[in-house]
């Protein structure tokens, strides 16, 4: 710290970074882990580019990523820039809306070399996001963090850049859609068919209903303290069921079932027709 007569103040820029947040899609995590597993033997970590877009409310949506070969030795980092540009062009041919939003590296924390790489990426994109994925599980868990670089300046002189953490949204809606069971275990022998999936969903629904029943019973008998919010929620849910008299409901269900039966009948007729036609048409010996 330079001693000087006037008082200088260590300035933080206006807190725009606190409104910035990032959202990561599960594909990015899968990509990063796959690249880490395939890294060349002498590399300790993997570095790559993050692709995505910036949503209108300022959130950075990270949708895709690719690894970039790099060389690290005693504080010097060399990144293969041509490769980075080539792959970027290739990816943009498929999806022109995906642009660079930052870069990632595996390993916990931010190192000195990262500042240099971050500088390179800030030349491509105004405010790149730096994502670290701890594949070493050093804290006993896999931490995924996102940082933004913030310039610290002393008075008028730029002093250093600080990596400030930004909130990261790791909700995996697509992964949920596929089913965590398929994506979580190391080997799944069969993708669940429609009926099996439906069975699982119905079981979950029944479990939820049982829970609610038990809660209401407990409250009525006085075992649990009543919570007004939960009570209102339950009554809203029950009231949102449409008011149908039992015969009307029966009619609805039966109509639906009849439609399906009709379709079953039509498809079996079609199949019979097809096999008959085949037999009749290919029975002749001339052909």
């Amino acid at each position: 710290m330079a001693a000087s007569e006037q008082k200088t103040v260590l300035q933080f820029p206006p807190s725009f970074s606190s409104t910035l947040s990032a959202k990561v899609h599960p594909l990015v995590i899968f990509n990063i882990c796959d690249c880490y597993v395939r890294r060349p033997d002498q590399a300790e970590r993997v570095i790559g580019t993050l692709l995505g877009s910036v949503l209108p409310d300022g959130t950075v949506d990270i949708r895709n990523s690719y690894a970039v070969p790099h060389n690290e030795s005693s504080g010097q980092v060399a990144l293969d820039i041509d490769y980075h540009h080539n792959l970027l062009l290739s990816h943009q041919k498929v999806n022109p809306k995906e642009v660079i939003v930052g870069w990632y590296s595996t390993g916990l924390g931010v190192t000195g070399g990262s500042a240099l790489i971050h500088e390179f990426y800030s030349r491509e994109v105004p405010n790149p996001i730096h994502l670290t994925v701890d594949t070493g599980f050093r804290n006993g868990e896999g931490t995924i963090k996102a940082y933004v670089s913030v310039n610290l300046s002393l008075g008028d002189r730029p002093l250093a850049a600080q990596f400030q953490e930004v909130p990261l949204d790791l909700r995996m809606v697509e992964a949920e859609r596929i089913g965590f069971d398929v994506l979580k275990s190391t080997m799944v022998d069969k993708i669940p068919s429609d009926l099996e999936g439906m069975e699982i969903s119905m079981q979950r629904l029944l479990a939820l209903i049982d829970d609610v029943y038990k809660y209401v019973d407990d409250v009525v008998e006085g075992h649990t303290a009543p919570d007004n919010n939960i009570g209102r929620f339950i009554s809203d849910t029950v009231a949102s069921l449409p008011k149908l008299s039992p015969p009307a409901f029966d009619k609805l269900v039966n109509d639906n079932v009849q439609d399906h039966l009709l379709l079953l009948y039509l498809s079996s007729i079609t199949r019979t027709q097809l096999s008959l036609a085949e037999k009749l048409n290919t029975a002749a010996q001339i052909l």
Binding site: C33, R63, N95, M187, G197
Partner: protein, 303 residues
């Protein structure tokens, strides 16, 4: 070139090269979770247009492993963009090889809507791929079923008997009956297994939300299935129309064929009753040749 030291020990190089390796039949396709996510992302982003992409992986024994994939850009119907497409492919393969991704093409994936994937283009693409790669597979994904909470992924392969027939272009009735080939035997569906590396499985286990109900369940328990049902029935009706037109064409050809053959028989009969000599033999050959051409022409027309 090692020569046999003892007759019972190591076979000579020549002997090994002479015995052909019989590849075990393909029993399963093992896809990585990463590939599933990539395929879903690509198909969903660009739906409703149909998209394709390349699959990369390894061919190991009776299991075909698919370890990575990359999407193809949407191609305009222009001749000069063909070269660009090939360039793009080469570029992607080269870049992926540098990061140690398996550089081996094992097939392609494509999206489809409502289950209508059995087209002539698919068969032609299969034949093209089969020229270069011994074992290739096509993965079909239906993004519209994802809204119903179903992972609609299918791995297809052309059956061997169909491929032989197609190559020799020998689609006559006897051959079909001989090989017992009907429309269900054209494509073979192969079961899919999904595998994940241990690292990603650790991450997923940790990042999994503790909600008792997932988005998948919300989609599955949706009650509005009628739009999908209606679309499927519409497609069924279209196919039935096409089928009836084809059947009528076939009936027409068949009637013509039997009429021509009856005429040919009658003519031959008449000629053989007169004396067989001089020019009549020559005329017979010419007429049979004409009918023969007509036959072949109509055989091609029916299939």
């Amino acid at each position: 070139m090692a020569n046999t030291t003892t007759p019972t020990m190591a076979r000579s190089f020549l002997q090994v090269a002479a015995t052909e390796e019989v590849a075990p039949p393909l029993r399963a396709v093992q896809i990585e979770g990463l590939v599933v996510l990539k395929i879903i992302k690509h198909c969903k982003e660009l739906s409703p247009s149909l998209v394709t992409g390349q699959l990369l992986g390894l061919d190991v024994g009776s299991v075909l492993e698919v370890t990575n994939c990359f999407p193809f850009p949407i191609r305009e119907e222009d001749e000069e963009i063909e070269a660009e497409g090939a360039n793009y492919q080469l570029e992607m393969m080269r870049c992926l090889r540098e990061v140690n991704v398996d550089n081996n093409t094992v097939g392609w994936y494509q999206s489809m809507l409502f289950g209508c994937f059995q087209t002539v283009e698919l068969i032609e693409t299969f034949m093209n791929y089969q020229e270069n790669i011994k074992r290739c597979v096509c993965i079909i994904y239906d993004p519209s079923r994802a809204n119903q909470g179903v992972l609609a992924l299918k791995a297809l392969k052309l059956s061997d008997s169909f491929m032989d027939l197609y190559r020799s272009n020998n689609f006559t009735g006897e051959k079909l009956r001989e090989k017992n080939l009907s429309w269900v035997d054209i494509f073979e569906e192969i079961p899919i297994k999904v595998s994940n590396s241990a690292l990603i499985s650790a991450f997923m286990t940790e990042l999994e939300d503790d909600t008792p109900v997932t988005q998948c369940d919300y989609d599955r328990l949706q009650l509005s299935t009628s739009p999908y049902l209606e679309r499927n029935v519409e497609f069924l009706i279209e196919c039935m129309d096409d089928l009836s037109i084809e059947q009528q064409k076939f009936q027409y050809y068949y009637r013509n064929l039997s009429r021509q053959q009856a005429q040919q028989q009658a003519w031959l009969q008449k000629r053989s009753q007169k004396e067989v000599g001089s020019g009549s033999y020559y005329v017979q050959i010419v007429i049979s040749f004409c009918y023969g051409c007509f036959d072949r022409h109509l055989t091609l027309f029916s299939f």
